[in-house]
C-alpha cells in the first residue's frame, strides 16, 4: 500500500534501504535457486553445494546491510552532539556506502536499484567525497588515539619524523653489530683466494 521509495545517493537512510533491498533480493534469489535445484530430484546436500556461490553472496549482502545499518544508526546518535564531528562521520559513512555500491554494482543493477547512468553519478560523487575528506584524514586517524608504543611503526609515528626513525631502527639490525660480518672471513675470503 505504501508508495515506492526512491534511492537518494546523498541520504544515508535511503542508502540503508537500498542495501536492505539488495540483501533481500540476493537471499530470495539464493533460496529460489536452491528450491529449483531440489525440484530436479537432487538431494538436499547436492542442491546446497550447487548453490553455494549464491548462498555466500547472499550472506555477504546480508552482513553488508547489517554493517551499514549499524554504522548509520550510530551516526544518528551522534547527531545531537558536536556538529563538526557529526559532519565528518556522515561524510565517512556516505563514502562507505557509495564505495560499497560501486564495488558491488552488479548486485545493485540486477536488483533494479540503480541504473547505469546513476553508477557514473555515484562514481563522480565518490571523487567529491574523497576531496571533502582530504583535509581531515590525519585528524581522523589521530582520533583512533594509538600511541607510538602501540603502533611500533616508524612510518606511522605521531610526530611524522619517519626517515629519522627508519634510519635509527636500521642501525639496530643485528647485521650491523660488527662492521665486517663473520661470513666474509668464513666464506668470501676463501672463495676469493681460490679464484
Amino acid at each position: 500500500s505504501s508508495q515506492p521509495t526512491v534511492v537518494n545517493i546523498n541520504d544515508l537512510a535511503s542508502l540503508v534501504e537500498a542495501y536492505k533491498f539488495r540483501a533481500s533480493k540476493l537471499v530470495e534469489m539464493a533460496s529460489k535457486n536452491l528450491q529449483a535445484e531440489l525440484q530436479h530430484s537432487k538431494s538436499n546436500e547436492d542442491a546446497w553445494n550447487n548453490n553455494s556461490i549464491d548462498l555466500v553472496r547472499a550472506s555477504d549482502a546480508h552482513c553488508h546491510y547489517v554493517f551499514f545499518k549499524t554504522y548509520s544508526d550510530k551516526i544518528m546518535c551522534v547527531k545531537h552532539g558536536d556538529t563538526a564531528v557529526h559532519s565528518v562521520l556522515s561524510t565517512l559513512a556516505l563514502l562507505y556506502a557509495l564505495h560499497g555500491v560501486a564495488l558491488n554494482s552488479g548486485d545493485f543493477l540486477q536488483a533494479g536499484l540503480f541504473t547505469v547512468p546513476q553508477l557514473a553519478q555515484i562514481s563522480q560523487r565518490l571523487k567529491g567525497l574523497l576531496s571533502e575528506l582530504r583535509p581531515n584524514a590525519v585528524a581522523l586517524v589521530d582520533a583512533f588515539d594509538y600511541r607510538d608504543e602501540m603502533l611500533n611503526s616508524a612510518l606511522g609515528r605521531y610526530d611524522g619524523n619517519v626517515y629519522e626513525h627508519m634510519f635509527e631502527w636500521a642501525k639496530r639490525s643485528p647485521l650491523n653489530h660488527t662492521e665486517v660480518h663473520e661470513s666474509h672471513h668464513k666464506y668470501l675470503k676463501p672463495l676469493q683466494s681460490k679464484l
Partner: protein, 467 residues
C-alpha cells in the same frame, strides 16, 4: 614535529579528542584507558629489544616473560574490569600475540560458561592463579571448521568412573591450539563422547597434559610445538596426541550435557551450546578487525601525509602523496570501513552479552540468530580487514615492506582470523543456512525478529532515482 603533519592537524575541521571520546564511549573512559596505557609505557619491566631482531625462541622467551610480568602487574594495580584488563593487555602485546592468549580468551571463559557450580569452585581458582595454564584443543590435523568430523574419542568407563581419551588416527592429533606446545599444563579437549556403546557427539573435557609440579608431559600425552608459522612467532601453537589418557568423570564440562556415574547420558538443551566459546571469540573478532584496520590506516595515512613523490604539475615541488586521488581512493574507503567496524564491533559485543545473558537464564530462542550473526560478521570483517591491511601496506610504497613499518606484523598477526574459529566461507554458508530458513518462515507468514526481520517486508517499496 614534521611540518607537513603539523599543517594537516591545523587544517582539520573538527576536534579529534571529541571523536576519540565517542569511540571510547565517553570522556571518562578515554581518560581511564590512557591512564592504563601509561602504566605499561612507563614501566621498565616491559622494555625490550625490538622483537623483529630476535630469533623465534628468543621471541617466545621474551613473550612469556612479558606475560608473567603482566599478570603480576594486573594484580598489583588491582585492575579487574574486563575492559580495563583488555586495554592493559593490548598495550603490553602491541601488534604481537602472547603465549597466554588462549588461557585468557578461551580457557577461562569456557570454564566460566560450561562448568557446573562444583566444577567452577574447583577449577576457576586454579586457572585464575595460573597454577593451571590452559588452552582450548579443538582443531585436529585432519579436521578444522567441520567439528562434527573430529575424531578424538572420550570413552566412559563406569568401572573406574573415568573417561579414556584417545587420538585414534594420525589425522586426529590436535593441531594448532595456541600455548599448547610448551606453555600449558591443561587443555580443554573437544572429543566425541562414547558411553554405553553409543556416540553422543562432541563434548569438552578438562585434560591435564603436563605435571603441575615438574611441567613434564604426563603418561600417554605426546605434546610439542608445531614449528614456525606465517606469523605468531611468540606463540607455541602445539600438537597433542592422547594415548589412553584417563581422566575422572568430573573433568567433563557438565553444565549442560551430563554423564551419570553409571554411564547414562543426559542431553544438553541445545547442541550449539558446545560451541559457545567459539561464538564468543567470533563476536570479539569483529572488534579486532576494527583495531587491525584502524592501526593500518593510521600508519598509511600519516606516512602519506609526510611522503612527497613525483610531481602533479611540471616544475612544482613534489606533492604529499595523500594529494593524489588514486592514493585517496585506496585509503579513505578503508578509513571509513575502520570506523564502521569499530561501531559494529561494539554492537556485536553488546549483542553477544545480551543474548548470552538470556541463554544463562535458560532462554535459547535467540541462539540461532547469535550463531548466524557472529559467524557472518566474523567472516565479513576479517576478509575486508585482511585485504585492507595489505592495501595499506602497498600504499606505503617500498617502505611498507620493511618490518619497521609494522604493517607486515599487523598482516601476519591478523591473517589467521580468516581461518581460526571457523573458516570464512564455511561461516558464510552457516549464515546462509539461517537466512534461507528465515526466508522460508517469512514466506509462510511468520513474523521474524532480529537482523533478518527485513525479510518480512514487501520488496516493491524502492525504485531507482532518475538521473
Amino acid at each position: 614535529m614534521n611540518p607537513d603533519i603539523s599543517r594537516e592537524r591545523e587544517n582539520a575541521s573538527f576536534n579529534p579528542e571529541i571523536l576519540t571520546n565517542i569511540l571510547d564511549g565517553g570522556a571518562e573512559k578515554t581518560r581511564r584507558r590512557r591512564e592504563i596505557e601509561s602504566l605499561v609505557i612507563g614501566d621498565p619491566d616491559f622494555q625490550h629489544e625490538d622483537l623483529n631482531f630476535l630469533s623465534r625462541s628468543e621471541r617466545y622467551d621474551a613473550a612469556v616473560r612479558k606475560s608473567a610480568q603482566m599478570i603480576l602487574k594486573l594484580r598489583e594495580y588491582g585492575i579487574s574490569d574486563p575492559e580495563e584488563i583488555y586495554s592493559y593487555k593490548s598495550i603490553v602485546k602491541g601488534v604481537y600475540q602472547e603465549p597466554f592468549g588462549v588461557h585468557f580468551v578461551m580457557f577461562i571463559p569456557t570454564l566460566n560458561s560450561q562448568c557446573t557450580a562444583e566444577q567452577h569452585k574447583k577449577w576457576i581458582p586454579l586457572a585464575e592463579s595460573f597454577r593451571m595454564l590452559g588452552t582450548y584443543a579443538q582443531t585436529e590435523l585432519g579436521h578444522g571448521t567441520h567439528i562434527r568430523g573430529l575424531e578424538t574419542t572420550a570413552t566412559y568407563d563406569p568401572s573406574t568412573q573415568e573417561f579414556v581419551l584417545n587420538s585414534p588416527t594420525i589425522s586426529s592429533i590436535k593441531w594448532w591450539p595456541g600455548g599448547l606446545g610448551k606453555t600449558s599444563n591443561h587443555a580443554i579437549v573437544l572429543a566425541q563422547l562414547y558411553t554405553q556403546g553409543k556416540c553422543h557427539g562432541l563434548h569438552a573435557f578438562i585434560t591435564p597434559i603436563r605435571c603441575m609440579k615438574t611441567h613434564m608431559p604426563l603418561p600417554g600425552v605426546v605434546v610439542g610445538d608445531i614449528g614456525p608459522k606465517f606469523g605468531f612467532d611468540e606463540v607455541d601453537n602445539g600438537y597433542l596426541k592422547l594415548e589412553n589418557v584417563r581422566i575422572p568423570r568430573e573433568n567433563m564440562l557438565m553444565k549442560y550435557a551430563k554423564v551419570e556415574p553409571d554411564g547414562t547420558y543426559v542431553k544438553p538443551p541445545s547442541d550449539k551450546l558446545t560451541y559457545g566459546t567459539m561464538v564468543f571469540i567470533r563476536s570479539m573478532i569483529v572488534g579486532e578487525s576494527a583495531r587491525a584496520l584502524s592501526k593500518s590506516c593510521t600508519i598509511a595515512i600519516r606516512y602519506s601525509a609526510v611522503r612527497h613523490q613525483s610531481e602533479l604539475r611540471p616544475g612544482e615541488p613534489e606533492p604529499q602523496i595523500l594529494d593524489y586521488q588514486a592514493q585517496q581512493y585506496k585509503l579513505f574507503p578503508l578509513l571509513a570501513t575502520a570506523y564502521a567496524f569499530h561501531f559494529v564491533g561494539q554492537y556485536m559485543s553488546k549483542t553477544y552479552h545480551r543474548i548470552s545473558g538470556y541463554i544463562n537464564q535458560g532462554d535459547f530462542s535467540e541462539l540461532p540468530e547469535l550463531h548466524a550473526l557472529s559467524a557472518g560478521l566474523k567472516a565479513f570483517t576479517t576478509w575486508v580487514a585482511n585485504a585492507g591491511i595489505e592495501l595499506c601496506r602497498m600504499s606505503c610504497g617500498g617502505h611498507g615492506y620493511s618490518r619497521c613499518s609494522s604493517l607486515p606484523d599487523i598482516y601476519v598477526t591478523f591473517t589467521p582470523t580468516c581461518t581460526y574459529e571457523g573458516e570464512n566461507t564455511v561461516m558464510m554458508l552457516q549464515t546462509a543456512r539461517y537466512l534461507v530458513k528465515s526466508y522460508k518462515q517469512a514466506r509462510a507468514g511468520q513474523q521474524l525478529t532480529g537482523t533478518v526481520s527485513y525479510l518480512n517486508e514487501p520488496q516493491s517499496r524502492i525504485q531507482p532515482l532518475s538521473v
